[in-house]
């Protein structure tokens, strides 16, 4: 299980990257993150919504009320222009952290 600080820090880039594929809603976002991380990236359901609302407030994503296939109301979120820019920034930063870690690990085995 991934530590909670890392879970919190990765929430925004993960949500942005997920929404870059197309609009989605809270429940589906949690399901997909759990499936993709094989349950390692564990989000409490309640934690997601404040994050989504904060991102919307900051102008990174937008929301609209729609309907599910069964006719139930659903709130869909999608990426905004600022969100795309923020996502690229996140990707660059996380890649940098990743390359530093990989580089250091390789050096250990040289």
């Amino acid at each position: 299980m991934i530590r909670k600080e890392l879970v919190a820090a990765s929430a925004e880039p993960v949500i942005l990257s997920l929404l870059a594929k197309g609009e989605s809603y809270g429940y589906a976002i949690i399901q997909e993150v759990t499936a993709r991380s094989e349950g390692e990236l564990h989000w409490t359901d309640g934690m997601l919504y404040p994050v989504l609302h904060r991102m919307e407030h900051r102008g990174l994503i937008k929301s609209r009320w729609g309907e599910s296939e069964t006719g139930r109301k659903r709130k869909y979120y999608s990426l905004k222009k600022d969100g795309k820019a923020a996502m690229s920034q996140h990707h660059a930063q996380w890649s940098l952290v990743h390359s530093v870690l990989t580089g250091l690990r390789k050096e250990r085995y040289v």
Binding site: Y27, D45, G46, M47, Y49, P50, H57, R58
Partner: protein, 158 residues
């Protein structure tokens, strides 16, 4: 025999109780509570599809959602009210400015006389003090509103 109808009635009652708990914890935005409730309903349905009892599924979904108090604290941090407050202040300030401009520029065109607040013969004696107060209030209102809104946007972007 398991009575699904009664179980569904109990489930609806549980949802109603949960909404009250949300209200009691201070989550008073109907749209937000609705969004969270729709999430719970989806989770409950999913678990029932796998054969879970409705009330057990509900209890599990609520547990996954987390405590209403913690949720409310998280939402409060977003500061949506902060932004709204500054917008209102900005609105009042701008309204004041527009009103002053109308009074002094458009007013004379319509009524064929100078606006008494600004250009009456003895305006400086009669109106100047209150005019000064009026203008400084509106200008200050607009300036504070604008600065506050900018600061808020900047903080939100970080």
């Amino acid at each position: 025999m398991f009575d699904l109808r009664n179980a569904m009635v109990d489930l609806e009652r549980s949802f109603a109780d949960w909404r009250w708990q949300m209200l009691a914890a201070g989550l008073r935005t109907p749209e937000l509570v609705e969004e969270l409730e729709l999430h719970l309903r989806e989770e409950v349905e999913q678990q029932m599809r796998f054969g879970a009892d409705p009330l057990e599924a509900f209890a599990a979904a609520v547990a996954r959602m987390g405590s209403p108090v913690v949720l409310q604290r998280e939402f409060r941090k977003i500061g949506l009210w902060g932004a709204r407050f500054w917008w209102v202040l900005l609105g009042i300030g701008s309204f004041g400015l527009v009103q002053t401009a109308m009074l002094n520029l458009v007013g004379p065109m319509i009524f064929h006389r100078h606006a008494s607040v600004f250009l009456s013969p003895k305006w400086w004696a009669d109106w100047f003090p209150s005019y000064l107060v009026w203008v400084s209030f509106t200008v200050a209102g607009a300036a504070i509103g604008w600065a506050g809104w900018r600061a808020q946007r900047k903080a939100a972007r970080q």
